[in-house]
C-alpha cells in the first residue's frame, strides 16, 4: 500500500481537529462569560440596593438584627440568599473602638455564582457623628 496519501490525510485530519478544538473552546468561553457576568451584576446591584434601602429607611443604623432580617426577606428574590455583617465603631480619643457587631442571614455557602460588597456609613446624634459603621454582604444563588 502506498502510504503517502495516508500521511497527507492524517495531516489534514490533525489540522482540522485543532481548528475544531479552538472553535469549540471559543464557543464555551462566549457562553460562560455571558451568564456569569450578568448574574454577578444582578446580584451585586441587589446587594448594594438592599444596603442603601436599609440605610434610607433607618433600619441599618438601628442595628436591630430581626428588623434587618425582616426587611431583607421582604425584598430579596426567592432564588438568592444573602448574609449581612454590620460592625459599628465609636471614636474614643482618636481611636475607633468596636462597639457592636451583628449578622443577618444564613452562613455563606458555596455557589456557582457568589459575590460580595461593602459599604461604610455614619450615624448621627445632634448633628454630630455618633458612630462609624461598616456593612458587608455576601449574596449567592440558592
Amino acid at each position: 500500500m502506498n502510504n503517502r496519501g495516508f500521511i497527507l490525510t492524517l495531516d489534514a485530519v490533525f489540522a482540522a481537529f485543532i481548528v475544531l478544538t479552538i472553535l469549540g473552546y471559543a464557543n464555551y468561553l462566549v457562553n460562560r462569560s455571558d451568564v456569569t457576568q450578568w448574574s454577578e451584576y444582578r446580584m451585586l446591584s441587589t446587594g448594594y440596593d438592599i444596603i442603601a434601602m436599609l440605610y434610607s429607611t433607618g433600619t441599618l443604623q438601628a442595628m436591630n438584627e430581626s428588623s434587618i432580617q425582616n426587611a431583607i426577606t421582604q425584598v430579596l428574590p426567592a432564588n438568592y440568599e444573602m448574609r449581612l455583617e454590620i460592625k459599628s465603631y465609636k471614636n474614643i480619643g482618636g481611636t475607633l473602638v468596636p462597639t457592636l457587631s451583628i449578622t443577618a442571614g444564613p452562613d455563606v455557602k458555596d455557589s456557582a455564582v457568589r459575590t460580595r460588597g461593602r459599604r461604610t456609613f455614619l450615624t448621627f446624634s445632634n448633628n454630630n457623628v455618633d458612630s462609624y459603621g461598616v456593612a458587608e454582604f455576601w449574596i449567592w444563588l440558592k
Binding site: N2, L23, W38, Y41, M53, T57
Partner: protein, 169 residues
C-alpha cells in the same frame, strides 16, 4: 490495474475524510461566528439595561428638576437621593411620549418597559411598552419611595438581537 484501483480507493477515502472534516469546520465556524454576533448584540442589550437602570435610580436627570420643565429635559432620572425615587418624576416619565422617553433614557433602537411594585408585588405604576419581542433582559432594583420599599423592574427588549444604535435628534 490493481495498483490503480488501490490508488482510487485511497483517494476516495482521503477525499471523504477531508470533506467530512472541512464540513465540520465550516459548520462550527459558522455557528461560532453567529454565536459571537449574538453575544455582541446581547451584551449591548445588557449594557443598555445596566446603564439605563443606573441612570434611573442614581441620577435625578438633566436638569435635576426636569419634571417641572418638560421642555428643557436632556436626560431623565428618577432619583431624589441615593436609590430614593421621586413619585413625581416617575409620573412625568410615565406620561411622556414613548419615543421621547426612549431617547432621553438612551436605550437606542431597543424598547423599554418599567414596572414599579411594592414589596408584596402590587403594581404601583408602569412606563414604556409592554414587552412583545423575542429578546429581553431584565434588571430588578430595590429602592425607596415615600419612605417605603419599592421594586423597580426595567426590561430592555426587542424583536431581534441587533447592536445598539443611538438615534440622532
Amino acid at each position: 490495474m490493481a495498483r490503480g484501483q488501490l490508488f482510487t480507493t485511497d483517494y476516495v477515502i482521503g477525499v471523504a475524510v477531508f470533506i467530512l472534516m472541512l464540513a465540520s469546520c465550516l459548520f462550527v465556524w459558522q455557528k461560532t461566528a453567529y454565536r459571537i454576533q449574538e453575544d455582541f448584540a446581547f451584551n449591548g442589550m445588557m449594557n443598555t439595561a445596566k446603564r439605563a437602570s443606573e441612570q434611573l435610580v442614581t441620577s435625578s436627570g438633566i436638569p435635576a428638576d426636569w419634571e417641572d420643565n418638560a421642555g428643557s429635559v436632556r436626560a431623565v432620572g428618577l432619583a431624589a437621593g441615593d436609590r430614593i425615587i421621586s413619585p413625581k418624576k416617575f409620573a412625568k416619565l410615565a406620561a411622556m411620549d414613548y419615543n421621547t422617553s426612549k431617547y432621553y433614557l438612551g436605550v437606542g433602537n431597543h424598547d423599554f418597559y418599567i414596572k414599579l411594585m411594592n414589596s408584596t408585588g402590587s403594581l404601583y405604576g408602569e412606563a414604556g411598552r409592554t414587552p412583545t419581542g423575542d429578546f429581553a433582559v431584565n434588571v430588578r432594583r430595590i429602592l425607596v419611595m415615600d419612605n417605603r420599599t419599592i421594586i423597580l423592574d426595567l426590561t430592555i427588549w426587542g424583536s431581534e438581537l441587533s447592536p445598539v444604535v443611538l438615534p440622532t435628534q
